[in-house]
């Protein structure tokens, strides 16, 4: 039996949410996190947000090509959540790039002080948690709209 559009959307959105939560959990750092763990934490935290955005955009009918890569995702977030949300996403994206690619970020930005870099990463993860609270609300609203449009279609049929 074919699945309804709503079920398909929910399945896809839930899959993104699951991954987002897994990444967010793995971004939490132990008190003695080493440099690699700090870098991984920043990277995973961004990808948690990436998947939260996708979980929302699925319900808003945004096709995968407009949300599965960084640049189109920025545009879609800007279109559906606004300029400020897009700027926040870009900020976390830059932090992720620094963590993944900048070999001397610890020395140049934190004078080699791992404690400071760790504190920055913890704060960044917390900021992402705050942003995610907003997304959770938006996802719920978008989901309700999909369900209610299905109900109203059923009534008119």
């Amino acid at each position: 039996m074919a699945l309804s559009r709503e079920s398909l959307l929910q399945t896809e959105s839930d899959a993104h949410l699951r991954l987002a939560r897994l990444f967010l959990m793995s971004a939490v750092l132990p008190a003695d996190a080493n440099e690699a763990q700090v870098r991984n934490g920043l990277s995973r935290a961004y990808y948690a947000l990436f998947h939260f955005c996708n979980a929302l955009l699925v319900y808003l009918g945004v096709p995968p090509k407009r949300r599965s890569h960084h640049r189109p995702l920025n545009y879609s977030v800007s279109q559906h959540v606004g300029v400020e949300a897009m700027q926040r996403l870009q900020l976390f994206q830059r932090r992720r790039e620094d963590a993944d690619y900048r070999t001397r970020v610890l020395e140049s930005e934190y004078n080699g002080d791992l404690d400071r870099y760790r504190a920055f990463a913890n704060a960044s993860v917390q900021e992402i948690r705050d942003v995610i609270v907003n997304y959770e609300q938006l996802i719920e609203t978008a989901k309700r709209k999909v369900v209610s449009s299905k109900d109203s279609q059923a009534v008119s049929e």
Partner: protein
Amino acid sequence: MDMDRLKAQFDDALKTAGVSSLVNQQLSQFLDVGDFVFVEVVLDDASLQEAAEKAVKEFVDKQTRLGQRIDYIVRSRWNILSVDRSELISVGGVMKAAIPFVARLESGRKIIEVPVWVTFAARLFLESRPLVPGLSEIGLMTAAVKEYLQEQLRLGGTSYWDPSKYPVADLNEAAMLFLARYGPEFYQLKWAIDDYFETVDDENQLKSLVSRRLNLFDFEHGLSEVSSQLGGAIDHSHSTPTSARELFKKLDERERDSLQSYYRRKAARLAVKRRAEFPSLFVDAD
């Protein structure tokens, strides 16, 4: 068509309609999404929204005839003037099992009143986890309504909320849980910032700030100024902060970032209104 040319034509259309000076450039967008263009026009004065909508629609219709698809939003930025307990007990003749409030919102020259309902579950939540200690029950609910509306008004893109067209959802326990993500010190400072910008938005106050050579875009200075607004309805018997700086130190990093960005937004909003008369108060950092 070339995007730069299309954007220039769009800007001309807004100019001809007499609305371009009230378009908020930071929040508005003109996006090439691939097979279509997405436009969001954010106005600082809702009294011109109709004129802007008309101009944008005409432009879009013209482009559609030429084969260019444009999706668009025209909305306004709203500011909360006040939130008060209301006497309303029913909606459309139906009694509501919730506590009624009314919010007065302002966007440029337009002012509207919006009914807001707080559910009993939300009230219980606030009793057990007040946003700040020492506020009366009504004071707490009023503050929660204000915070919640501010969050809703911040949403942009297709998720925006137009309070002049759509009712606000009832404030339930989930909404309260959302607000409780920040601690009491954060809210004390945030509300002091609100009071501060409300107080200084006055000819004489601003002149006095000019004579003191203040730059309202400087958060560090602003924080010292905000101290004068700490107190009011909040009972500080639980903790006795002597300055905004002291409270600020108690915040965690994400609360600090959030508060700084809130301060900057308030200053930017005042700048839209007052920069022409008082340019020295709004000097961008290098």
